[in-house]
Structure formats: C-alpha cells, structure tokens
C-alpha cells in the first residue's frame, strides 16, 4: 500500500504503534530513574534526592542475596547454553536439509519442547535427578533445562534459514572443485553467520533471564533470576530497582554487541 500521500490509517496506526512502544519502555524507564532514588526514598515517585546509594547497597552481601556470585553463575551458564545452542542447532539445521528417518518426529519433539510448560520440565528434571541420585546443580540439571528452551528457538531459526538457502551456491563451489568441507567452511558458513550470531544471542539471553526452568534444577546455588525472584517478595527498598537497572543495562549491552557483530560480519562479507 505504498501511496505517495500518507493516509489517515497511517496516522492512526502510527499513534497506536507509538503507544505500544511507550507501553513497552515506560515502566522500564520508571525503574531506571527510581534506581537513583535518594537514601531515604521509597519504591515510588517522587525522587527523594538523587544518589548511587542503592547501587552501592547492591554489593553488600547482607542487603541482597549473593548478587556477585549469582551473576557469575548466570553469565557462565548463559555462555555454556549459547555455545551448545549454536552448535547443536547448526548441526540439526544441516540434518533437516536431507531426508532421514525420524526427521518429522524430531522436528515435532523440538516444537513440543517449546510448548511444554517450563515448570513441568523443571519438576521432571528435578525428579529424574533425585531418582538417579545425582545432585542438581546449575551447570548440570539447570543447563539441560535451559537447553530445552533455547534449542527449539535455534532449530526453528536454522530451519527457516536453510529453507531459504539456495543450494546453487554449494553446487557452484562443488563444480569449482571444492570438497564438501571447503564448501561448508567457505561458502555455507559465511552466508549463515549472521543467523548463527542471532541464535547465539537468543541462547544467551533466554538462558540469562530464565527462571521457571531453573526453579527445581539449580541445586544449592541460585542463578541471578532466581535471586531476583526471591527478592520480589522480601525486599522493599529501591535496591531491587538498582539490580533491575544493572541487569537490564547488561542485557542491552549484550544485544548491542551482538547487533554490532552482525553488522560487522555483513560488512566484511560485502567487502569480499
């Protein structure tokens, strides 16, 4: 509907879209501002002075739980999940390009992984570990639990990517005498690199923010989302907002870095 003149419909929808963006970002900016609340300020506006008090508070162990430790665990877990998600999704994506027995079943298993309620997976893995006598830990049971959430996203993205991927490039490479490994490494991989980075971003952020699946599987030590979840019931100071601001800024940095990487890879490819 590319008319030269903007219609009334455009302005109505543009206003609707603007409201939607405000709805998305408004509350988030409220806690961003309130995390700079003065020492005597409360959980709501107005600001009672401006201070970094609550950020300082964040690093005192007794004020909140173990912020540093839980952040470290969530970060490492996120990286582990990211690496495995990218690798396994890529392999599965390549597998789905060919016909093999059980392909449909495996595809629907991945879809099922997406629709099965998180808490059921959490409970199930918890009970399995208990029955075999393994002790649940964030790097074993929670790691597996997170993968059941990130892998379907990765697999579906790779599935979509390879659906649109023309085999002509590979055939051209093969005609020029490239081995199948060379074709993969020098032709296929550079072309799908931006999507792989996207899968990595999904893997990391979904794991970094996940807590329903971690609930029964994290073992003795909490991940960051569990720590925050615990705080919602017993912390009544703006330190909660300070924590929110710190983790949100961290998430934004990760997203920016990823987008930067995607643009960089795209540019480099264009140069070649």
């Amino acid at each position: 509907m590319s008319h030269d003149k903007r219609t009334v419909e455009f302005y109505v929808l543009a206003a609707f879209f603007a409201l939607f963006v405000l709805f998305l970002y408004g509350p988030l900016s409220a806690i961003l501002i309130l995390s700079f609340q003065g020492e005597n300020g409360g959980l709501t506006f107005p600001l009672n002075g401006v201070s970094l008090h609550w950020f300082a508070n964040l690093f005192e162990r007794q004020a909140v739980g173990d912020f540093g430790g839980s952040f470290k665990r969530s970060f490492i877990l996120g990286l582990m999940v990211m690496i495995v998600t990218v690798g396994v999704s890529l392999l599965a994506g390549l597998a789905f390009r060919q016909k093999f027995r059980g392909a449909t079943a495996l595809f629907y298993l991945a879809v099922a992984s997406l629709v099965v309620p998180s808490i059921i997976i959490s409970l199930g893995i918890g009970v399995v570990f208990q029955q075999i006598g393994f002790r649940p830990a964030w790097y074993t049971s929670a790691f597996g639990a997170h993968l059941t959430w990130t892998l379907p996203f990765g697999v579906l993205i790779m599935f979509a990517v390879f659906n649109r991927f023309s085999p002509a490039y590979e055939e051209a490479a093969r005609d020029l005498g490239a081995s199948s490994w060379q074709t993969f490494a020098h032709v296929v991989l550079p072309m799908i690199a931006p999507s792989l980075i996207g899968v990595g971003l999904f893997g990391f952020t979904l794991s970094y923010d996940e807590f329903a699946r971690t609930l029964m599987t994290s073992g003795t030590f909490n991940t960051l989302p569990l720590e925050i979840y615990g705080m919602t019931t017993n912390v009544t100071t703006p330190v909660l907002y300070a924590l929110g601001t710190v983790t949100t800024v961290f998430s934004f940095l990760v997203i920016l870095l990823t987008l930067g990487a995607i643009v960089y890879v795209g540019r480099r490819r264009a140069r070649i």
Partner: protein
C-alpha cells in the same frame, strides 16, 4: 527441493563406491543426534518420569513407588483445582485476545506502512529489545507505575479525576493481565509480521483494481493470509500463559491462582506426586490446545 537437487551427486557416487554412499546416508543421523540426545534426556525422560511419579505414594519425607490413582482423584476431585483451571483458561483467553489485537496492528503497521526495509528492521528491533531482558524485572517495573502511590494514581488524583488512589491497579487480576500482555505481545508480533512480509503486494493491488475497499482488502486478503502467523503466535501466547506462575504470583500479590502456581506450591511442600498428577493434566490440556491449532497451520511450511 534441497533433497531433489542433491540427489544427482548421490546417484553418481552409488555405482562407483558403495561405501561412500552408506557414509553419506549416516551423516544426517549424526548431525541430528546431539539434538535428539539432549531433548531425549531433558525433555522426554523427565516427562515420562513425571507420568510415572504421578502414580506414586508419598508422605512428608519421601516418595514411594506404587500404582495409585489417588493423586489424580485428589486433583480432579477438588473444587479448587477446577476453579484454578478455569481461572488460568480465563487469563489465557483474555491475554490471547489482547495480544492478537495489538500484535496484528503493530505487525500490520510495520509491514504495510513503513516504506524502507531498514526502518522496518529498526522499528522491529525497538519492539524486540525489551523481550530480551528479564521477565521479572519487567514485572517489577509496573510497581512504581501502578502502585497505590504510583505514577498513574498520583497523576489521576492530582488532576482531580479521582478523589483517592484506585486500589485495584496493582496486585489484582487487572495487573496480571496487563503484565502478561506486556510480556508476551512480541510472541504475537513476530510471527504475524513474518507472514505479512511474505504477502505478495501485487495481490493487494489486484484486489484494489477489482474495486475492493480498504476494509475489504484487509478482511478478504490480508487477514486470511496472516492466519498462519496468528496461529503460531497463538500457540506461543496460550502455552506461555497456561504455564505462567510468576506473573500471577507477583502481579496479583498472591490473590489469584493459576495451575502452574498451584503446582509450584505443591512442589515447595515436597508433594511431588501430587504436582506430577497436576502436571500430567496440564500437559494433556496444553498439548490438546496446540494440536487443535496445528490442524489449522503446518509450521514447517511457515518457517
């Protein structure tokens, strides 16, 4: 298509070296193996375990292997369970309707009213970024907005619209629905945007040339073609709401219930077999809903 195009190479190799063919036939299985193993160990096995445990006996300390149906009888025979299921379904229906409405119009605006691809991507990213941040933080962020002395209440009181703060803005069913819409709308926007972007613009021109009005184009061309996207978005939103416990707990301040929250409470009391029976019922319900939606749409074709 891929398979067809790759076949010539395989046929060529066949008479020459039989062994190479058999190796290349194994390749897809090797490539799919990690995914199958991980999902087998952390999805299938746990679900089977839940099904088994749901028939077990338990006391305050441990579970005992058995074959009892009492967990199911307790779950299904309780008035509270039915009420909780109804409440969860109510949330699912309301949130679904709202996210579908908002999601469709946002996606429609991005797909048909933004002229350059670059701008489309930028605006789409603007919508996406909050969804990659913590759900709990995004829930908490409503507290200073909706609270008794929050932004909305203090503004309304100040301009004299209401005499005293409205109590039901936070810690109420309203707050739960609002937060869920806030959390889950993107899951509707993305698949609908994806299908709308693939609509051939000449179809719309053709409808217009044939004399269709704007609404007729929308109703008879765009919406039918967007249905697969809506179906996928529906799967996401419905399953997320059906599985939700944290939003209900945090945003209702403990005044509302959902099935998953009921399960979580059973789990914290170590009543695993009871929680497992509940899990089986919930899982069957969710899978039936998804199967119903999948009859309308073939996901593999939509990717």
């Amino acid at each position: 298509m891929t398979a067809v195009l790759e076949r010539p190479g395989m046929i060529e190799a066949k008479p020459a070296r039989r062994r190479r063919v058999s190796i290349s036939a194994v390749v897809p299985y090797l490539q799919a193996a990690p995914l199958a193993l991980i999902l087998g160990a952390f999805l299938l096995l746990p679900i089977l375990m839940i099904a088994v445990v749901s028939f077990w006996d338990y006391d305050f300390a441990a579970m005992y292997p058995d074959f009892l149906t009492i967990n199911y009888a307790d779950t299904l025979g309780s008035w509270v369970t039915w009420k909780t299921y109804l409440n969860t379904l109510k949330y699912a229906a309301i949130v679904w309707a709202l996210t579908l409405f908002i999601g469709f119009w946002v996606a429609y605006f991005l797909a048909f009213h933004i002229r350059t691809t670059a701008m489309q991507m930028v605006l789409f990213l603007v919508c996406t970024v909050p969804f990659l941040t913590s759900n709990i933080i995004r829930m908490i962020s409503w507290i200073p907005v909706l609270g008794r002395n929050g932004l909305v209440n203090s503004t309304l009181v100040e301009i004299g619209l209401i005499p005293k703060p409205i109590e039901w803005l936070l810690y109420s069913e309203f707050a739960v629905v609002l937060a869920m819409v806030h959390l889950y709308t993107l899951f509707m926007v993305t698949p609908i945007f994806n299908t709308l972007m693939r609509i051939d613009k000449s179809l719309i021109e053709a409808a217009r040339d044939a004399g269709a009005s704007g609404w007729q184009v929308l109703w008879n061309v765009v919406i039918p073609l967007a249905k697969p996207g809506m179906a996928i978005g529906t799967i996401f939103v419905v399953t997320l709401v059906m599985a939700d416990f944290s939003t209900v707990q945090v945003m209702s301040g403990g005044q509302s219930a959902s099935v998953a929250l009921m399960m979580k409470n059973q789990m914290s009391l170590l009543q695993y077999p009871a929680a497992a029976a509940n899990a089986v019922v919930l899982l069957v319900l969710v899978l039936l809903m998804v199967a119903g939606i999948l009859r309308i749409v073939d996901i593999r074709k939509e990717l």
